[in-house]
């Protein structure tokens, strides 16, 4: 069935609401309004106000109460309206939800999904364009996925809801309505931690996730015809855990790696990827690992989408730097 990313997320949540009475969705404006992006539109009419819960405007309260629901065996899906608003809930996410299993010796668990609409591309400025994943990869206890196609949105949302641990779903806001595709909505979840080769290639590996997967794939096609550079594009899809085997197999083949993400450069997830890859593939590398990221500046309303978030020009330049480097 053909769906947008937004419809795929909704279809997955509806599937679980239909089949598991413990699933509830809570957040600001998720019920009557169907969310400010309308991801949950129609679900309250279908499943009722006890399952689609409009909460006070309180991110730490949304996550904190969702943790309580989860401790008692429910499977809450907590929506943070924009990922830029998630920071108020950081302790609840990282030192409560992500730690209950460990601190209680496995006696209490938090099967919780946190939805974080993320990324630039909507002229949203600093609080509505954030890439927050790096704040959540540190310290363990929470999985992080980042769907970038309707199919990933559907099957990763199912996986996140069914997972016994907290899962942070980094959702691609700019793709919500602009990207559609065939979705096999058969109720089957995908495996968290599996990356996807978007475009096979032999000369340089371009590793990315989120909306930039599509930009990078376009750039790779252009570079093939314009410069004869054969780029292998990998969409990481899942950050914690991430698919190290697929990544290193590619790098061992190409000998060159460019990491592309929207988050700021310093301690962006690319830093971890680069460290892991150089450790595993040191002898295969024929060039320094390149990164194409946002600079360490806040995201501008007027120029952020063009000059903070990497665009095709910068991605192309980064790939060429890696491809053309010689010792």
């Amino acid at each position: 069935m053909r769906m947008t990313v937004l419809e795929a997320l909704r279809a997955a949540m509806a599937h679980e609401l239909e089949n598991d009475p413990d699933v509830v969705v809570l957040g600001e404006d998720v019920g009557t309004a169907g969310g400010i992006f309308r991801v949950t539109q129609g679900l309250q009419n279908r499943f009722g106000k006890d399952r689609l819960i409009d909460t006070p405007m309180d991110e730490k309260g949304i996550v904190g109460h969702a943790i309580g629901l989860a401790l008692f065996g429910m499977k809450p899906i907590a929506e943070i309206q924009f990922s830029g608003f998630i920071h108020d809930a950081h302790e609840q996410i990282m030192f409560c939800a992500a730690k209950y299993r460990w601190i209680s010796g496995g006696e209490y668990t938090v099967p919780l999904v946190i939805r974080a609409p993320s990324f630039g591309g909507i002229m949203g400025g600093i609080w509505h364009s954030q890439s927050i994943e790096s704040y959540y990869v540190h310290g363990g206890g929470i999985k992080i996925v980042c769907p970038s196609t309707p199919q990933h949105a559907y099957s990763l949302m199912l996986a996140a809801i069914r997972d016994p641990d907290p899962v942070l779903v980094i959702e691609p806001v700019p793709l919500y309505r602009t990207l559609s595709g065939e979705v096999d909505d058969n109720g089957e979840a995908s495996e968290i931690g599996v990356a996807e080769i978007v475009r096979p290639g032999t000369q340089v590996t371009a590793l990315t996730y989120g909306p930039l997967r599509h930009t990078t794939a376009q750039v790779a096609d252009e570079l093939a015809s314009s410069h004869g550079i054969d780029v292998e594009v990998i969409d990481l899809v899942s950050l914690i855990p991430f698919d190290i085997d697929l990544v290193t197999a590619s790098v061992n083949k190409t000998g060159r790696l460019v990491i592309i993400h929207e988050a700021c450069e310093t301690l962006g997830f690319g830093a971890e990827l680069a460290a892991r890859v150089q450790n595993r593939s040191f002898g295969y590398l024929q060039a320094p690992i390149e990164r194409v990221c946002a600079p360490d500046v806040p995201y501008s309303y007027r120029v952020g989408d063009d000059y903070c978030r990497p665009d095709a020009t910068r991605i192309s330049a980064g790939i060429r730097r890696a491809a053309e480097y010689s010792f």
């Binding site: 730490k60 904190g64 010796g105």
Partner: protein
């Protein structure tokens, strides 16, 4: 500062017994009867004995940390007794009563203090930061007050799922300054979950006195803004705490949440890392001594003819003996190995953790060769 319990009537603090254990407060004696009051008293004395032993274990270097509970025995024992055993209790850091009153062993409690691998948390957390699912005593996170919204959420889930379970969420006076307290009051006011919030106001948040914590003259009234019914109670009067908590629990089937402020006094250090001489006058401690919960409860029992000097001597001997046996058993238990810290991070491990574990074990066992 005067002891507020002396002016319970004019301050609206619910009280059954005065400092001499005489029933003449503003709240009716719940008439628990000989066996129940004796049980409450005996548990309070056991807690005090555990506290004395725990302190010595810390001071002699056998455990790393201690959180004294002396002076706060009545509130935790009576509140636990007012709840059903199946009710969930989220505990502020000085509460051990559910462990003792719901059938978990003293040996296992001391195993927690020594960080034994066999205790519920597998030796992962500081002494006194304990929990035990077998007795519905939740291991909340250590950050003060962070779990108030979790307690509210559990109660909300119980309501949504049609369960009979109620929740007691206890926290200190300092925790009321945290966002989670206000989140929980706000959500509780809207969704009316079956939760009893118990603010154990022991007058101190480490060194911070009440007038540096809030401009409000009381904590209970903070419930008013959220439509959460609230009440102040003498936290050193187990009969009053029991009566108020019992009513709050019953009311969960009606209006839902209640916020109880139990007024007590931390007689000892905040923790073994504290030094109250820096911020508290000894004469304040002296003022509170007549209001000690253990002595007041004993006087109540004695005036009812339910307790004798012989009973007291026998109880103390029994407590010391039980604790000695528990310490000896717990101190010789196995402690966790380095690999245990990798367990329970997730339901099932992943390659990232596996790689770190294998490397660490190789390094510590054979120098990485």
């Amino acid at each position: 500062m005067p002891v507020p319990l002396e002016h319970a009537g004019e301050l609206g603090i619910r009280q059954v017994i005065d400092q001499n254990g005489t029933v003449k407060g503003n709240l009716d004696d719940p008439d628990l009867g000989r066996d129940e009051v004796r049980m409450i008293y005996e548990t309070m004395v056991l807690l005090r004995a555990i506290d004395e032993r725990g302190w010595k274990l810390q001071r002699s270097g056998r455990i790393a940390f201690w959180i004294p509970l002396r002076g706060q025995e009545a509130v935790q024992v009576a509140a636990t007794h007012a709840m059903a055993p199946s009710d969930w209790i989220f505990r502020e850091h000085r509460t051990m009563s559910p462990w003792l009153m719901r059938g978990a062993s003293l040996e296992l409690l001391f195993a927690q203090l020594f960080g034994a691998v066999s205790e519920p948390q597998k030796g992962r957390r500081l002494p006194c930061l304990m929990g035990n699912r077998a007795v519905n005593m939740v291991q909340g996170p250590t950050q003060v007050g962070s779990f108030i919204s979790h307690a509210c959420g559990v109660a909300w889930a119980a309501k949504l799922k049609g369960s009979d379970v109620k929740v007691l969420g206890t926290f200190g006076d300092g925790a009321t300054s945290r966002g989670e307290f206000h989140s929980a009051m706000n959500f509780a006011g809207i969704h009316r979950p079956p939760v009893v919030f118990l603010c154990v106001n022991n007058s101190w948040a480490v060194s911070t006195p009440l007038d540096c914590q809030t401009a409000s003259t009381e904590f209970a009234a903070k419930g008013d803004a959220y439509e959460v019914p609230n009440v102040r109670v003498d936290g050193n009067d187990p009969l009053a705490v029991y009566a108020v908590t019992k009513k709050a629990r019953a009311d969960t089937d009606g209006h839902g949440p209640t916020l109880i402020e139990a007024i007590t006094w931390r007689q000892g250090f905040h923790t073994s890392s504290d030094n109250p001489d820096l911020y508290r006058l000894e004469q304040e401690n002296e003022l509170w001594k007549p209001w000690d919960p253990v002595s007041r409860t004993r006087k109540y029992l004695e005036s009812a003819g339910w307790w004798s000097d012989g009973d007291e001597a026998e109880l103390l001997e029994r407590c010391v003996g039980r604790i000695q046996d528990a310490v000896e058993a717990a101190e010789s238990m196995d402690i966790p190995g380095p690999e245990s810290q990798f367990e329970d991070v997730f339901a099932s491990s992943n390659w990232m953790l596996d790689e770190q574990r294998d490397r660490l074990l190789a390094e510590v066992r054979d120098g990485g060769s």
